[in-house]
Amino acid sequence: MSEIKQLEVQILAAIEASDDLAGLEDIRVAALGKKGSVSALMKRFGQLPPEERKRFGQQVNGVKQALNLALGDKKSVLGDKVLAARLASERADVTLPVRTGPMAEGRIHPISQVMDEINEIFADMGFDIAEGPDIEDDFHNFTALNIPAEHPARQEQDTFYFPKRADGSSLVLRTHTSPVQIRTMLSRKPPIRIIAPGRVYRIDSDQTHTPMFHQVEGLVIDEETHMGHLKSVLEEFLKAFFEVDNVQMRFRANHFPFTEPSMEVDVRYKRVGNEVRIGEGDEWMEILGCGMVHPNVLKAVGYDPDQLQGFAFGVGIDRLAMLKYGAPDLREFFAADIRWLKHYGFGVLDVPTLAGGLGS
């Protein structure tokens, strides 16, 4: 065996025997480093006769290649071993609980959620959203709505009043969202399609009444909208809101000063435990009031009742939330009890959309 071959075999054996990366590096340096045994062979190169040089060079390079190959393989094997040992030592208790972060904690109030649902439905039917102040004057809350000063309705609505002003008049907390009808008609030209959600106030307090609650008003004014349209809009709304294929409505004649004819609408329902199933069963539940806008209201905003007509309706938002989501006590809506809010509230990503579904 040639000296070179012997050296190769020796070093390969050492590589094979090595069992850690540091030892392997030592072997590499001892063989291939500047002063290494294989590098030393090259010093002979100059002393060789020219005809042998080529063969010798090829021989030494062959050794270098073989050693590099073996070193690489061994390095990879030892590296895997080291990594395996490290990974084996790095163990966590994966059962430790983690913080799920703020998105899991936050909640949207049911009233906001239901308002978003209502907006989504009516936007699809071409309604936009109008707003008005909570502190209203007599004209917008009563007079323009065909409720004259001594009308019994003014007493029946249990109005909150502010102190008398110099001119003898008193501002009120709006008793319904209907003043927004007036403000809208005074500031826009027909055709009008709006809903007006918001806070309203009446002197009342028990399990189903609070001195403040939320209503959404609807108003459509143009030259041809009639009661058939009103029925259709309400039906579409109730079907979409309660997410049922069928809603059976019953229209009862009623009286509101600002509409004529006026109706209250009942829906068929069934109670199963604390769940109210709309569209099933054989009981009727009052759900909203509506009617055709009274000619006197149209006149009060300078419209010609012979030219323009339309409908209006009002629904209790809190009541819709109670029915859909099963919250039994209206007072809890405003009590800010975190336990209640966590239970009945909605997550950040529960954004109602028509494409993704309204209810959560």
């Binding site: 936050g106 109030h109 502190i135 909150f160 009639h226 029925k231 809009v233 004529e260 809010l341």
Partner: protein
């Protein structure tokens, strides 16, 4: 308004069932609020006749009865001593629920003898407390006859809700008229008999205030014999919740309910001189029939004689001149009182009565004389006597209104449905309108009992009401566009986004009342007289909230009381700087308390949460502004937050010198303790209405082209020693300004104060990121920028670079 089925049938000839009648009432606008049908309660109870009574073999006090139930005879063991052969009583068969003993009867063995039912006492039927023996009916009724029928308890009482526009339905006859129109039968002929009377009425009537009492009629009936009313009348009054008093008084109540025509009776012997309706005078008072003394004032309409005030017109009479069992001469009043005046008087005195209820809604003005005739007839029937002629002062304020109606066209226009002129005419005629068809239209004469009908729309309403809205076909609303267009305003979008963003940062949304305690409002810049309710529901809810902070603090206090120590609450909603529409503003307000930071609260193996401070809520604020489209690099933060914030640990976020976007900071401990909130809390308010409205860029959503380079950014750190009061933002802005082209970001990564620095110094360390744009930066370029940064900061702040 209450009435019984048999009472209704005095006016309505119908074959309709109770259920059909109630459904029709509800649909046509006289909503049935309740039905009290005693026949149902007693449905299982029948007349049982005792055929035989033998002593019980094993018990001294019991008897074994054989009872004919109409359905064969059964054996009943009975403990009543009055049980005897031949007695007719009330039998309850096995399976009957007996409410007085709260028991459903079963076949039983009593001391060895089988018993198949029960003979009932009054207590067992809950008729009275009587339990001495079983009911002994002394009736001709055959065994098996329903008990309710025998004792006349088979007349259900119906209660309906009356909307303020329907005074005509405050009488049973008016209710019947609606049912006739709804197709449930025929209206029976009016039983009215006109009695002329003998001789002039010796009591003269004068009306001094025709505005309040335009017409007043009366007559004297002498020689009457007043006594308790007959059973039928007493039963009807009791059924509708009235207490029978005596025939004369009961008669007025009956006609009030039967016809919606209030009357009053005076004991004529107690009257002094003549009767007049007049405005009252200050200082007058009278003792009313309800036993209360009322002081009247000059705005009220009273009925008086020479001795003074007798009663309030249209509301209540007085005790002194009331009819009693001794009355032998009666003066009957039938007048018409102005609705508004009546309502105002009643309200001022807080006095409600059946008469006021009717007059303030509008009594039929044409019924003054008819009412008097009805009353006369009833008095003569019940008490006998001799009537005088009618005395009448003033004239009834008749409207005599005729409306021109294009019936078919208007019905179609309003409902979208078609109805023949004939059907419209029929409905109106049934309701008492007089219709004359003329060419394309009709002339409709409005009956005086319908003061709510003014014009064509009211007539169409009547037709729709009776025709039934359920019969109108639905018509889809015209679609305005194929795909619905967005409708939210920028503010509406921001409100909705603010809610979702804050919930995403761990806040729980609350909705609190718009009115709060005045002392609380005053602590937060509110409490003005103009926004203080005149009639609050309680003193805790009297003042319109100046902002959302006090409501949230109240919420925190209540939650703390329930053991919730850490939480983050927010509200987005309206508050009130004053009472004008422009004073109302919308803000988003959040409070973190305890240890409720973004990443959770309380203790955790990975590290406990810290107590929240102003920087937690400043982060909320800035995140919110960013999400609502405000460039947070452009805002300024100043130290002048309102006094409900900690003076040293709070800030105002401004956009330019005038626009305030919001406040944030730790809440003032003094205010917290005045709000009764323990511990510390940090919060913010952001004024949605003050946020700049982005400039409309047409419909384009195109964003500017992206300019980026693959060159590596370079970061360099600097530490400056500056005055302790130097705002960090000044250092940041100065550094940024050093080379606006190259410097991409400046980040404060350390800030400390310490004795080693000197009491008036602090150290601020910044990391400056340089972003090359066309070639990798050379060391020389980097050094140049670094020198510029140092120069700019030292110049701007007077600080020095730390080496």
């Amino acid at each position: 308004m209450k009435f019984t089925l048999s009472w209704l049938k005095e006016h309505l000839d119908t074959k309709a069932s109770l259920e059909e009648i109630c459904d029709a009432l509800t649909i046509t606008g006289l909503e049935v609020e309740g039905i009290d049908d005693p026949a149902q309660k007693f449905a299982a109870f029948v007349i049982g006749e005792v055929l035989d009574a033998q002593p019980h073999p094993d018990a001294d006090k019991l008897q074994v009865l054989s009872v004919d139930t109409g359905n064969g005879s059964v054996q009943v063991v009975c403990g009543a001593s009055n049980a005897r052969k031949g007695l007719k009583g009330v039998f309850a068969p096995v399976g009957t629920y007996v409410s007085g003993i709260d028991l459903t009867l079963k076949k039983a063995k009593i001391r060895g003898v089988e018993s198949f039912g029960m003979m009932c006492s009054e207590r067992e039927l809950e008729l009275s407390k009587e339990h001495d023996g079983i009911i002994d009916l002394r009736t001709d009724a055959k065994p098996g006859t329903p008990y309710a029928q025998v004792v006349g308890l088979d007349d259900p009482t119906i209660e309906i809700a009356i909307t303020p526009n329907r005074p005509d339905a405050l009488g049973v006859r008016g209710v019947a008229r609606d049912l006739v129109a709804a197709g449930l039968g025929k209206l029976k002929k009016d039983s009215l008999i006109e009695t002329k009377g003998k001789g002039d009425c010796p009591i003269k009537i004068k009306v001094d205030n025709p505005d309040q009492c335009p017409v007043f009629a009366g007559r004297l009936i002498t020689g009457v014999k007043n006594a308790p009313s007959p059973d039928w009348l007493q039963q009807r009054l009791k059924a509708v919740g009235l207490r029978p008093i005596n025939a004369l008084v009961d008669m007025t109540n009956y006609i009030s309910y039967d016809r919606g025509r209030p009357l009053h009776v005076y004991d004529a012997d107690k009257l002094k001189g003549h009767i007049r309706a007049r405005a009252s005078k200050v200082g007058e008072e009278f003792l009313a029939l309800d036993g209360e003394t009322y002081k009247v004032d000059e705005r009220m309409c009273v009925i008086a004689d020479d001795s003074g005030v007798l009663g309030l017109g249209g509301i209540m009479g007085g005790i002194d001149t009331g009819c009693t069992a001794e009355t032998t001469s009666v003066f009957i009043e039938s007048a018409w009182f102005d609705p508004i005046s009546t309502a105002m008087t009643g309200r001022r005195l807080n006095l409600m009565s059946d008469a006021r209820y009717r007059f303030e809604r509008g009594v039929d003005p044409s019924s003054v004389e008819d009412g008097l005739h009805l009353a006369t007839q009833m008095v003569l029937d019940l008490c006998g006597g001799t009537p005088s002629r009618i005395e009448i002062a003033g004239a009834a304020p008749l409207r005599r209104l005729t409306i021109q109606l294009e019936a078919k066209k208007q019905f179609k226009r309003l409902t979208g449905a078609s109805l023949s002129e004939k059907k419209i005419e029929k409905i109106l005629e049934d309701l008492g309108f007089k219709v004359k068809i003329k060419g394309h239209g009709m002339k409709v004469k409005v009956p005086e009992w319908r003061p709510d009908v003014h014009g064509p729309a009211d007539l169409v309403e009547e037709v729709v009401r009776i025709y039934g809205v359920d019969n109108i076909p639905t018509t889809p609303l015209v679609e305005l566009s194929g795909v619905a267009k967005p409708v939210l305003t920028i503010r509406q979008k921001r409100v909705s986004r603010a809610r979702r963003l804050l919930a995403g940062r761990g806040f729980v949304e609350v909705v609190t009342y718009s009115f709060i305690q005045r002392t609380h409002a005053s602590l937060f810049g509110g409490g003005a007289d103009s926004v203080e309710l005149d009639n609050p529901i309680s003193s805790d809810m009297s003042s319109m909230r100046p902002g959302l902070m006090p409501g949230l603090l109240g919420a925190i206090k209540r939650n703390r009381a329930r053991g919730v120590m850490d939480a983050a609450l927010f509200e987005v909603g309206q508050s009130y700087r004053g009472d004008q529409p422009d004073d109302q503003y919308v803000s988003a307000c959040g409070i973190r308390f305890g240890q409720n930071g973004m990443n959770g609260s309380g203790r955790h193996w990975s590290g406990n949460a810290d107590s929240v401070d102003l920087f937690d809520v400043k982060a909320d604020c800035m995140a919110l502004l960013h999400q609502l489209g405000v460039d947070t690099n452009r805002v300024q933060v100043t130290r002048d937050a309102p006094d409900w914030y900690h003076p040293g640990r709070s800030g105002v976020i401004r956009l330019g010198p005038k626009i305030i976007l919001g406040y944030f900071g730790e809440l003032h401990p003094g205010k917290l303790s005045k709000m009764d909130v323990s511990g510390t809390a940090s919060g913010f308010e952001l004024f949605i209405d003050n946020l700049p409205v982005p400039k409309l860029k047409g419909t384009s959503h195109t964003r500017p082209a992206l300019e980026i380079t693959d060159l590596q950014p370079v970061k360099r750190d600097f530490a400056f020693l500056v005055g302790v009061e130097t705002p960090a933002i000044d250092v940041v802005r100065a550094a940024q300004s050093a080379d606006k082209k190259l410097i991409d970001a400046v980040n404060v990564f350390d800030c400390f104060e310490g004795d080693a620095l000197g009491a008036d110094k602090k150290s601020l360390a910044i990391e400056v990121t340089l972003l090359p744009f066309d070639a990798t930066l050379t060391d020389k370029q980097i050094d140049e920028v670094a020198s510029k940064v140092i120069a700019a900061v030292t110049k701007a702040t007077g600080g020095e670079i730390r080496s």
